[in-house]
Amino acid sequence: MKKLSFIALILLIGAQLAVPVMMIKGREKILRNGELYRFLTRPIDPADPFQGRYVRLAFQNDYVPCSKDRELGLHRNQKIYALIEVGEDGFARFTSWSTEKPVKGRFLATRYLGNKSEWNRISRTSMHKGIRLDIPFDRFYMEEEKAPRAEHLVREAVSSTNCWAEVRILNGRPAIEDVYAQGQSLRELAAKNE
């Protein structure tokens, strides 16, 4: 009985170690071999009791443009693939979507979150922009003192300059590499202003 329990415990420890090792392996593979994209973003700073402080990234282009009248045939949280195109300004944006995994090309595996609309202050109407996507790289973890400082600095910076996230994507799976504001890494920016 004791021998059986010991074997079961060793198997369990194997499984417990396999899960984090697979997570590390998967992310390392994306960070080493994935293609690099820049996504325009606007960070906000909240906290997670287990993982610490992070900067939440609110992306400007978190949608695929499409007409309001188009019959989508999608349900909320359905898995879809968003095709990516890099504009002349060097920033990535989504151009179309598919429910089938593309064989080749640039794409991101994501979920459909409903319609994307924007409030027009001048005409005081809501403008339909397309379908909203779940962006699976919305957290950038930072040291607990640096995260609120970074958010403050970025808030000041975004009025005059761009803020973007550098993300590597491999086979539709993303891994965030760094976040930049005023042309500098957010970590360096926060460290300089200590």
């Binding site: 010991f6 420890i13 170690l17 899960v19 984090p20 997570m23 939440r56 699976p136 040291e143």
Partner: protein, 442 residues
């Protein structure tokens, strides 16, 4: 027999020489008594060692999670990746040691708690290092499933309670993120199986009692979390059946044990009192029943079936336990057993007649009044101060609330208060007369 305090043992040690000298106990008997009570003190010390081991591992585990959450970004990625595996490795070494050495309760509990927390710390650190998206339910589910076998392999109650807490935590975040947490009812099954095994083995051990407390709290929280609320008011029947069944189960399993030693009874009575108190308010009965079925994107078509299934399971549990116990014919068993019947009746009344809310509230005002008086009576008869105080507390809560309740007019409240007061005084006079009669006969 419970453990004696060190103060009593000290007193006994002082008394024994005198008892020996007077020839009341022999030398051998005195020695036997001394060694018997020495064992009892060791037993107390043994539980203290376990308590400190549990607290120590809990604090260290939680401390490691907080330290890692600080985010040491001066360390580069590969170092952090290796570092993130350290908590699980340390936890595994502890668990292997506990199993190989066939360790005592303190070692098994420490290993179980630390190892369970270390799984969360490792996953959290990887999430932080690789900036994984905020999938909180996924994080909780991975942690919960990887921790589950530890409760069985190490026979650790600490790990079992952490598992229940994680399953409850998952139900909360899953309900918020996905809009449903039906999976909780699968997660709770291994916990229920372990509890059933412990009750069958020895229902009176502190380990069984602790697990029973944990399971009751988890069930109560998770029922509220997982309910889809498609049929408004169905929760009234579900909670009534769960808490009534629990209270009666306590009477069946632990008979006259009270307090910490009878978790099910205490939990059931406290739960029924809180529920009955909520039901004394009219707004608890507004817009309930099938005429107010909820629909829309936030409600699922199968929600009513899941809620119905949970309610049905609780009703079945209550019915089996109540039928087994009701033969005792005590006022307490009968009162606790019929509580869900009142809930079902009022739910049906509220569903078919929208103006029944006042009647329903009055029925539960009456129930709570009876509950209070019953426990006061039981306390007086059995000479138990805890029952007497409990009854007084229930009654005071009800009367103070109704005194300030503006839903009832001043005349109605005043009349009812005077009638009730008169009843109490009359009963008091009858009791005094009876006592005098008994004294005269004696």
């Amino acid at each position: 027999m419970g453990n004696l305090s060190a103060k009593h043992i000290q007193w006994l040690k002082q008394e024994l020489p005198a008892l020996k000298a007077d020839g009341i106990v022999s030398e051998d008997t005195a020695q036997a008594i001394e060694s018997y009570y020495a064992e009892k003190t060791n037993d107390g010390l043994h539980w203290a060692v376990i308590a400190f081991a549990v607290l120590g591992s809990l604090l260290i585990g939680a401390g490691i999670i907080l330290l890692l959450a600080h985010n040491w970004d001066e360390l580069d990625r590969p170092v952090r990746a290796v570092l993130s595996l350290c908590p699980i490795l340390i936890g595994s070494i502890l668990s292997i040691t506990a199993l190989i050495k066939n360790g005592g309760t303190a070692l098994r509990e420490s290993a179980g708690i630390f190892h369970t927390l270390s799984i969360g710390a490792t996953i959290a650190l990887i999430g932080q290092t690789y900036h994984l998206p905020g999938n909180v339910p996924g994080f909780f589910m991975t942690w919960t499933l990887l921790a589950l076998p530890l409760t069985f392999l190490l026979r650790s109650s600490g790990a079992a309670l952490l598992y229940l807490a994680l399953a409850c935590g998952w139900s909360g975040v899953a309900q918020e993120t996905y809009g449903q947490a039906a999976g909780f009812w699968l997660l709770i099954l291994p916990g229920l199986a372990r509890l059933a095994y412990l009750i069958r083995t020895d229902r009176h051990t502190p380990e069984t009692l602790l697990n029973l407390w944990g399971m009751l709290i988890a069930l109560c929280i998770a029922t509220g979390m997982t309910f889809e609320r498609t049929l408004p008011g169905l929760w009234i029947i579900a909670y009534s059946a769960l808490l009534s069944g629990t209270g009666v189960l306590g009477i069946q399993l632990y008979n006259n044990q009270t307090g910490w030693n009878n978790p099910a009874k205490i939990f059931g009575i406290a739960g029924i009192t809180i529920l009955a108190y909520i039901f004394t308010f009219e707004h608890a009965w507004f817009d309930i029943g099938w005429a107010h079925m909820r629909s829309g994107w936030q409600y699922r078509a199968w929600g009513v079936w899941m809620d119905g299934g949970i309610t049905g399971a609780f009703l079945l549990f209550w019915l089996i336990i109540a039928l087994k116990t009701i033969s005792q014919h005590t006022a307490e068993t009968l009162t606790l057993s019929v509580f869900p019947l009142a809930g079902i009746l009022c739910f049906i009344l509220g569903s078919i007649k929208s103006t029944a809310d006042t009647v329903n509230a009055l029925i539960f005002n009456g129930f709570m009044l009876f509950l209070g008086i019953m426990y006061i009576g039981m306390g007086c008869r059995n000479g138990r101060l805890s029952q007497l105080n409990g009854g007084m507390a229930v009654l005071s809560l009800l009367l103070v609330t109704r005194f300030f309740d503006e839903d009832f007019g001043f005349i109605a409240r005043g009349t009812v208060f005077i009638i009730l007061g008169t009843c109490f005084l009359v009963v008091n006079l009858i009791m005094i007369k009876r006592r005098k009669k008994q004294e005269a006969i004696a």
